[in-house]
Amino acid sequence: MIPHLHAKARLQRDEVRGREVLLYPEGLVGLNPTGAEILALCDGARSLADIVATLERRYGASGLERDVTAFLDGLAAKGLVVYGP
C-alpha cells in the first residue's frame, strides 16, 4: 500500500504561523511537525511499511504503525491522501 497526496492537495510552509499546512480547494489542514514529516515521506514510492520503518529508525522508536495509519486514514477520509497499489 503506497500512500500519496491527492493531486488537488499541496504541502506548503506557513511561515507566519511557523508550521506546515496542507492546502486544497477551499480548505487547509494545519500540520504538527510529525504530521508534516509523515506527509513528506508520502512520495509515491515508499509503502506504508517503509514510511513507518523510516520514522521508527529516525526516532529509535517502535510501534508507530497505528499512529501513522490513523493520521493518513484521517486525511484519506477527506480525499486528501490516496492509497495506491
Binding site: A7, K8, R17, V21
Partner: protein, 374 residues
C-alpha cells in the same frame, strides 16, 4: 497580532458577460466607486502583503476575472508566493489555450459556475448564452489536470435540478460541487421575491443531497450552503467578522467579506492608501465587530455567540437597518418577522395567491439606474 487572515478574495473586475440575477456584487458595481481598477503591480503588491499577513488561500474572482488580460501574470505572482490559487469563473469564452497558460503559471484549482443542468435553463438564468462554453471548459479543466469545482447558486427556478446537477458534476469527474443556496445580498437581495425557494423545494433538494452523498462518498464532495432564511439560527458568517477573511474589490477597497461594502455606516480603507496589514489590524471597519463586546441582546448573553458570532452583520444592516443588531435570521431576533414575511410571500405565490415576481438581470445599465435611485 491575532487573528490573522487565511483567505483573500480578490475581485479583479466587476465586468461580467453573464447577468445572473443572484449576483453577490454590489448593485452599484458599474458606478464611480468601483471604476478605477487596480493595476497589475498594485494587485501583486496586495498578494505579497496578504502572504506576509498570513493568507494561504487566494480566490481570483469578479465579475469575470478572465476579462483581465494580466490574469496569467497575477497567477504567476501568487504561485511564486506559495498561495493556493483558485480561479472562480463563468468560463464564458474560456479556451483550452488560456487554461493551459494559467496551468503553466501555477494556478491550483478551477471553479466554474453553471446556472442550470441544461442549456435552456442555464442560459436563461445567466441571461447570456454560456452553457456550451461551460461544458467545454469543464472538460479542458479535467484534461489539464486541474481539480474542478462545479458551482451552482440555487433558487426557486433551479432547485428541482439538484439531482441532474450532481450527476453532471459526477460525469465530468469534478472534485466538488457547491450547491449554494442563494444568500440575499447585492442583486440577490434586490431580486429576493423572484429567487426565494419554497420550503417544499428545499426539503426535496436536501433529500437528494443526503442520498447522493451516501452514494458518492469521497468521489464527489457535495457542499450544501444552507438557505439561512429557512434556518432557526444564523450562519457563523465568515467564521466571525474580520477573523479569517478579507475581500479586495476591483478598485482596491478592503472589506471583511464580499458584501460588507453595503454597510453605509462603516468607512472602508483602500490598498492605495494603506498597506494591507494596517487595514487588517487598525482600520475602524475591521475592528468594529471583532470579539463580542459590540453585541446587543439577545446575543450578549446567548450561549451560541461563540458558535455563530451573532450571525451576519451585512444581513443585520440590510434587513434590520442596523449593523449592530442580531442577525434577523435568528429565531431570537426581534426582527425575525421580517425574514418570516419574505419567506411567507413565496409560499403565497406558490399557492397561486399572488403573482410570482420577475427578476432584474445584473447588468451595467440596471446598475447605473439603481445607483441613481440610491
Amino acid at each position: 497580532m491575532d487573528p490573522r487572515p487565511l483567505w483573500l478574495l480578490a475581485e479583479l473586475t466587476y465586468k461580467c458577460p453573464l447577468q445572473c440575477p443572484y449576483c453577490s456584487n454590489p448593485l452599484d458595481f458599474a458606478g464611480p466607486r468601483f471604476r478605477r481598477e487596480l493595476a497589475t503591480d498594485e494587485w501583486c503588491r496586495v498578494f505579497r502583503e496578504a502572504k506576509a499577513l498570513g493568507v494561504l488561500q487566494l480566490g481570483l474572482s469578479g465579475g469575470e476575472p478572465t476579462l483581465r488580460p494580466d490574469l496569467e501574470e497575477l497567477v504567476r505572482t501568487a504561485h511564486g508566493l506559495g498561495l493556493y490559487t483558485s480561479l472562480i469563473t463563468s468560463a464564458y469564452r474560456l479556451t483550452r489555450e488560456r487554461l493551459a497558460g494559467l496551468k503553466a503559471a501555477g494556478l491550483d484549482h478551477v471553479q466554474i459556475s453553471i446556472q442550470g443542468a441544461d442549456a435552456e435553463l442555464s442560459d436563461e438564468i445567466a441571461g447570456t448564452a454560456s452553457y456550451r462554453d461551460k461544458i467545454a471548459a469543464y472538460h479542458y479543466t479535467r484534461e489539464l489536470g486541474f481539480p474542478l469545482t462545479v458551482n451552482v447558486v440555487l433558487h426557486r427556478r433551479n432547485l428541482h435540478q439538484v439531482e441532474a446537477l450532481i450527476r453532471l458534476a459526477e460525469s465530468l469527474g469534478a472534485e466538488r460541487i457547491e450547491l449554494a443556496n442563494t444568500q440575499f445580498y447585492g442583486w440577490a437581495l434586490h431580486n429576493r421575491n423572484a429567487l426565494m425557494p419554497t420550503k417544499g423545494q428545499l426539503a426535496a433538494a436536501w433529500q437528494v443531497v443526503e442520498r447522493e452523498r451516501a452514494r458518492l462518498g469521497t468521489k464527489l464532495e457535495i457542499v450544501w450552503v444552507l438557505p439561512d432564511y429557512h434556518e432557526q439560527f444564523p450562519k457563523p458568517c465568515m467564521g466571525g467578522w474580520a477573523r479569517a477573511y478579507m475581500t479586495v474589490t476591483p478598485a482596491g477597497e478592503v472589506w471583511p467579506c464580499h458584501a460588507a461594502g453595503r454597510i453605509t455606516t462603516l468607512t472602508f480603507e483602500n490598498v492605495r492608501d494603506h498597506p494591507l496589514d494596517w487595514i487588517w489590524e487598525h482600520s475602524e471597519a475591521f475592528n468594529r465587530f471583532r470579539g463580542d463586546a459590540w453585541m446587543p441582546e439577545p446575543c450578549r448573553s446567548c450561549p451560541r455567540k461563540a458558535q455563530d458570532f451573532g450571525g451576519c452583520r451585512c444581513q443585520a444592516f440590510l434587513v434590520a437597518g442596523d449593523a449592530d443588531a442580531t442577525d434577523p435570521v435568528c429565531s431570537l431576533s426581534p426582527h425575525r418577522h421580517l425574514i418570516d414575511a419574505a419567506v411567507a410571500q413565496v409560499e403565497r405565490a406558490a399557492r397561486g395567491e399572488r403573482q410570482p415576481e420577475e427578476w432584474t438581470y445584473r447588468a451595467a445599465p440596471a446598475s447605473r439606474a439603481l445607483a441613481t435611485k440610491g
